[in-house]
């Protein structure tokens, strides 16, 4: 199916850029912001060689709209940014949803609110999965936790975006973007959504003119369009949930964490298992669609859950909604400005384990 290439030692941001180009993304529009600058820099250096184009926009507002204009032609396109820049793009996200256009956006999130700081955080969870723009819409949100996964999920992001005609957000953070790891790049078999799609804007040569619009004023049309969007979101929840379910079969306590925190949690769980505690991990890889079904089923057997996040409590709300009412849900959160260590998380796991007399 896929062609593996030579192993490289690469920063997370570079892995994303490399994956995008290998996935056939030949157009990139973006604006500089730390901690994701290696993405536009890599694109600027490498896109000319594949006949593509890198363009530095005057703002993230312009980037997302250039992306929109390019996405309407059907090519694979990407932009990337962080916190403040992603906030500026929210208007565009809403239009992508209404217009049903596929594209990939990377948020290497940084601390907020405001100008905040340039280090890692998971404070953008709500903005990513609840919809930061206007209207009743969703994005597909992918949360990688290693360099290889940044690479793999960037390719997956293009496939999902095209399958559902939606914007896919790859949500990383400063840790994932800056960490350098061995990565095995690969080239997917499919590097384009195809020229035969019936909505592509290419000029009305030998066919009736087409339009890309999110304006529905005729009687009943707006509601119909909104139900159509909701039907896609339901299909996503049915067919494309991705989740890592680790050591949960015999677990008395299940930790739920995503992204870089999940990676730190894994070390803490290894310590806990070594100390005889039966602890498992559920790591949502798709934050939308959220693995509600899996958690609901798991909550039938295991009754104690712990959510760990680098924010003061965002995903924990979705975990509580997904679990049966008789489960306990403890929360450990650290706001922007700090990163928990494996030892911190081990202490929390151990204390939670004792608290519930497991």
């Amino acid at each position: 199916m896929s062609k593996p290439l030579k192993k490289v030692f690469s920063k997370g941001n570079e892995a994303i850029a490399m994956a995008a180009i290998n996935a056939g993304c030949h157009y990139y529009f973006g604006y500089p912001i730390t901690p994701q600058n290696e993405i536009p820099e890599y694109m600027a250096e490498h896109l000319p060689a594949v006949g593509g184009e890198f363009l530095q926009a005057e703002s993230e507002i312009a980037s997302i709209n250039m992306l929109l204009g390019a996405a309407a032609t059907g090519v694979r396109v990407m932009t990337s940014s962080s916190g403040p820049g992603i906030s500026l793009m929210q208007e565009g996200f809403s239009y992508f949803a209404g217009n049903e256009l596929p594209a990939v956006v990377v948020n290497m999130s940084r601390q907020g609110p405001g100008l905040g700081g340039i280090n890692a955080t998971q404070g953008d969870y709500f903005q990513s999965v609840k919809g930061g723009g206007h209207g009743d819409y969703k994005l597909i949100v992918l949360a990688p936790h290693t360099g290889q996964e940044l690479y793999d999920l960037t390719i997956k992001a293009f496939e999902l975006a095209e399958k559902y005609r939606m914007l896919t957000l790859v949500l990383g953070d400063a840790i994932l973007g800056q960490i350098k790891e061995p990565i095995t790049p690969w080239v997917p078999e499919k590097t384009s959504g195809g020229d035969d799609r019936d909505w592509l804007i290419t000029g009305a040569k030998g066919r009736p003119p087409r339009r890309i619009t999110s304006l529905f004023l005729a009687d009943g049309e707006m509601e119909k369009h909104n139900w159509h969007l909701q039907e896609k979101y339901a299909r996503l929840e049915r067919d494309d949930v991705m989740v890592e379910d680790r050591d949960t079969a015999d677990a008395k306590l299940v930790v739920v964490a995503f992204g870089s925190v999940a990676r730190i949690v894994k070390s803490a769980i290894d310590q806990a298992r070594a100390a005889g505690m039966k602890v498992g991990l559920v790591r949502p890889i798709t934050l939308f669609p959220f693995p509600r079904k899996l958690l609901g089923e798991l909550g039938g057997n295991c009754k104690n859950f712990l959510v760990a996040e680098m924010n003061t409590g965002q995903m924990v709300e979705d975990v509580k909604l997904a679990l049966p009412g008789d489960c306990t849900v403890d929360f450990y959160g650290r706001p922007g400005g700090s990163v928990p260590t494996p030892e911190d998380l081990y202490e929390v796991i151990s204390a939670t384990y004792s608290k519930h007399k497991l």
Binding site: Y27, F29, E53, L55, A57, E58, S59, I61, A62, S63, N65, M66, L67, L68, G69, A70, A71, A72, T73, V75, V77, E91, G92, Y95, N99, I201, T202, G203, A204, K205, G206, P209, R210, R211, I212, T213, S214, L215
Partner: protein
């Protein structure tokens, strides 16, 4: 019998929704005539903006992308970067281009993006019901300047053509009007030149068209036409401020 006047092929046969005396219909036709002249209908992509002209796709028989408010130039830049052999134009009003979309149009112009921008300046927000625009004249009453535009509070009407002509990127920057048959003929020529610039790859071309809004000006169509000559042209003088060399095909 020989047919001497017909609807351009680049237009559909859908009747305009525009108010009586509004100039959008004339400007639409002039753009369509230019597309027909160069046989561009099947390779043209229009970018609609937010305002009365959002329904571009109902009237032009070309592919159309609807842009968020003010962002048409950025959307068009993205499209043109991918489809370099196609013709891409935006059609924007004064609120869209000269207020919320000022940054996008300035930078598209400055990059010399090879697109054509048709800027319809009627000195008011039409679609939302007659609010003050960045181009509203001093003293002009609108629903949000009920006592008249005051330069101490609201600043002066913005001159986009003069601003953009100061940049290196554009190939053509011109202001025209369509209030008289003579001005329509001149506007036809300039709009055609603007598309010619794009065909020849000369870069960003920009045509500002002074336009009426009889409904929100509270005037008859005839009186509104007179206002163009009496009030708008004196402040927004007509003429081409910048033009790269091009073969005159007219």
């Amino acid at each position: 019998m020989k047919q001497v006047f017909k609807r351009p092929e680049s237009m559909t046969d859908k009747p305009f929704h525009f108010c009586p005396g509004c100039h959008h219909g004339i400007v639409h036709r002039l753009v369509a005539e230019a597309l027909d002249h160069f046989n561009l209908r099947e390779k043209t992509i229009g970018v609609a903006s937010v305002g009365c002209s959002v329904f571009l796709y109902d009237y032009f028989a070309v592919d159309v992308i609807e842009a968020p408010h003010g962002r048409a130039a950025a959307v068009a830049a993205g499209t043109k970067r991918v489809l370099g052999d196609n013709i891409v134009f935006t059609y924007q009003g004064d609120g869209d281009l000269a207020a919320i979309g000022t940054a996008e149009v300035i930078h598209a112009a400055n990059r010399g993006d090879n697109i054509t921008v048709i800027f319809v300046n009627n000195s008011i927000y039409g679609m939302t019901g007659g609010q003050m625009a960045p181009t509203t004249l001093l003293g002009q009453r609108s629903t949000t300047s009920p006592y008249g535009r005051d330069n101490l509070r609201d600043g002066y009407p913005i001159k986009m053509t003069e601003m953009l002509a100061a940049l290196e990127g554009p190939s053509l920057v011109s202001r025209v009007a369509v209030n008289t048959p003579g001005n329509v003929k001149k506007a036809r020529k300039v709009i055609r030149q603007a598309f010619q610039m794009q065909i020849e790859g000369k870069g960003f071309s920009f045509v500002e068209v002074l336009s009426t809004c009889p409904t929100n000006w509270g005037m008859s169509p005839q009186k509104a036409n007179e206002r163009i000559a009496e009030e708008m042209i004196p402040y927004f003088p007509l003429g081409t401020l910048k033009q790269r060399d091009v073969v005159d095909v007219l």
